[in-house]
């Protein structure tokens, strides 16, 4: 047990170091069993606590590995989650230093903002709909503290589900205005279409991803609360970020949002 504790803090330090020095580190997977997801989450939690101790505010969760294609690539059959801090939120069109996120990629998503707690046992899709205040178009800037994105499921879970930043659009919509399953998504950069998709790419519907996280957080004794932001998962393939580029995402029925990167 105390061996585990030492291991958790050592591996959490490795990721924290990589983030702070802007230098990716070696994968963690050789250090513990490949199916020990609990240990991987404990590493993530260690760095979340470190952030909270430093005054960072937790504002929600992101759900990762929500597409069948990505699940197949990582040989898993379930999503994972990461933790979002307030200082990870960027406004629509605000310039982001290219060096702020290690090995950055972007993906378009639907963000849900809750108006009530999801602390019931075994939440359902109806509970999610009732608890959602509004949806926002969003872009997630994912990044990896692991060299060359050479990740397995445990590497990415430990690394806060490869979180970076989130850009939230400012056009709140009620769920009744959006076809969550069929809504089209297109991301353009420099006039070229760089990613397309639809709601169904995220676990059949972004609401299914929301049910999964609500269930998981309740089980962990940290239920989702009113005001929490859920980044439900990518609607299309991720795109490598280029310095100086702008990524403009449109989600049908929901509006648009932009990630603008500086050249350095």
């Amino acid at each position: 047990m105390s061996d585990d504790k030492t291991l958790i803090s050592r591996l959490a330090d490795r990721l924290f170091e990589a983030e702070n020095t802007n230098t990716p580190c070696a994968p963690l997977r050789s250090e513990f069993a490949p199916d020990n997801l609990a240990l991987a989450y404990a590493i993530q939690e260690h760095n979340v606590k470190r952030g909270q101790a430093a005054g960072r505010r937790v504002i929600g969760r992101k759900i990762g590995l929500t597409s069948k294609t990505v699940q197949r690539q990582l040989k898993v059959d379930q999503p994972d989650f990461g933790t979002i801090f307030a200082d990870m939120v960027v406004g629509d069109g605000e310039e982001i230093s290219f060096s702020r996120v290690l090995q950055a990629k972007v993906e378009a998503e639907i963000a849900l903002v809750l108006k009530s707690d999801l602390d019931m046992e075994q939440p359902t899709v109806a509970d999610i709909i009732s608890a959602t205040a509004y949806a926002l178009p969003a872009i997630e800037v994912v990044g990896s503290r692991i060299t060359d994105w050479d990740i397995t499921i445990t590497d990415t879970i430990a690394d806060n589900a490869s979180s970076g930043l989130i850009i939230l659009g400012d056009t709140p919509k009620s769920l009744s205005e959006i076809d969550m399953r069929l809504c089209g998504m297109v991301m353009e950069s420099g006039g070229d279409v760089v990613s397309v998709g639809a709601g169904v790419a995220c676990m059949g519907s972004p609401l299914n991803a929301a049910v999964w996280i609500a269930y998981a957080m309740k089980k962990l004794g940290q239920p989702l609360r009113a005001g929490d932001i859920l980044m439900t998962g990518a609607l299309g393939p991720m795109v490598n970020v280029k310095p100086g580029a702008c990524y403009d995402a449109r989600i049908s029925g929901l509006g648009s949002v932009r990630a603008v990167f500086g050249s350095e």
């Binding site: 069929l182 297109v186 639809a198 449109r250």
Partner: protein, 260 residues
């Protein structure tokens, strides 16, 4: 030395025969030295063979309009093909694999025109000529071995046209540029995309159709259907499956593949 005409007629006979008999042929360009322009002449001659058998023209299909498709096929230019009555499959109908060589399908947005479009037209003018839109599935089937071909080969082979299924015509949306699309086999999504994959906006595909046809002295006519191009990679069909395409706000269209 053979005359230009007889080379084109001979090539047309080969591709049309392969389509009719549902068998594979080697790439035309392995034995015939033809240009892209001549390939379109082969296409025209092969479609005229269909007319001679009693089929009539229903419209035009555009190809290689999405990056996913272009990458899948290793080409980088738009192409068109002709749609005839013999290729039409009813919504909810069935096809038999024995009528095809190695068919694949892809979800598309289809336009129905209410006025002619000829030559250089703008996007607004083009979309104004659209009477209605429908969810559609195109069944593509190259007659070439292993579905491998050059741009010239595929054009001569009527751009792999072999079947198309149309859903109900609907009032056109204000903006057709980002409608989500799902292609499902037996209810499970196999391809997911958006009409945005078609040149950023499928109206651009319609503009391209009018422009490309004008180079051979043809135009799009009122009442014709334009299949704007696959918005995802194509999926191979297999016996016994049920295929559905859904388009955001436009409903669905589907067909079955008969069991072996």
């Amino acid at each position: 030395m053979e005359s230009d005409m007889s080379v084109i007629e001979k090539c047309a006979e080969i591709v049309d025969g392969a389509a009719l008999g549902a068998f594979e042929i080697p790439q035309l360009t392995q034995s015939a030295d033809i240009t892209l322009e001549q390939a379109y002449a082969v296409q025209k001659a092969s479609v005229e063979r269909r007319f001679a058998r009693g089929e009539t023209l229903l419209g035009v299909k555009m190809g290689f309009t999405s990056r996913a498709k272009a990458i899948q096929m290793g080409v980088d230019d738009l192409i068109y093909g002709k749609l005839t009555t013999g290729m039409f499959v009813e919504d909810g109908g069935a096809i038999n694999l024995s009528d095809y060589v190695h068919p694949r399908c892809e979800p598309e947005l289809a336009f129905l025109l209410n006025k002619p479009l000829e030559g250089k037209v703008g996007m607004m003018e083009a979309y104004a000529a659209v009477e209605a839109v429908a969810p559609a599935i195109e069944i593509i089937d190259s007659r070439y071995e292993k579905f491998k071909f050059s741009l010239i080969d595929v054009v001569a082979d009527n751009s792999s046209s072999s079947g198309f299924v149309l859903g109900n015509w609907r009032t056109k949306p204000e903006d057709p540029s980002n409608l989500g699309m799902i292609l499902s086999f037996d209810g499970r999504p196999v391809q997911i995309g958006s009409t945005a994959a078609v040149m950023g906006n499928p109206v651009r595909s319609l503009v391209a159709a009018a422009r490309m046809l004008a180079t051979v002295g043809e135009r799009l006519e009122a009442g014709q259907v334009v299949m704007t191009g696959g918005a995802t990679a194509a999926e191979a069909l297999s016996a016994g499956i049920s295929v559905t395409a859904e388009l955001e706000g436009l409903g669905r269209v589907g067909f079955r593949v008969e069991p072996d």
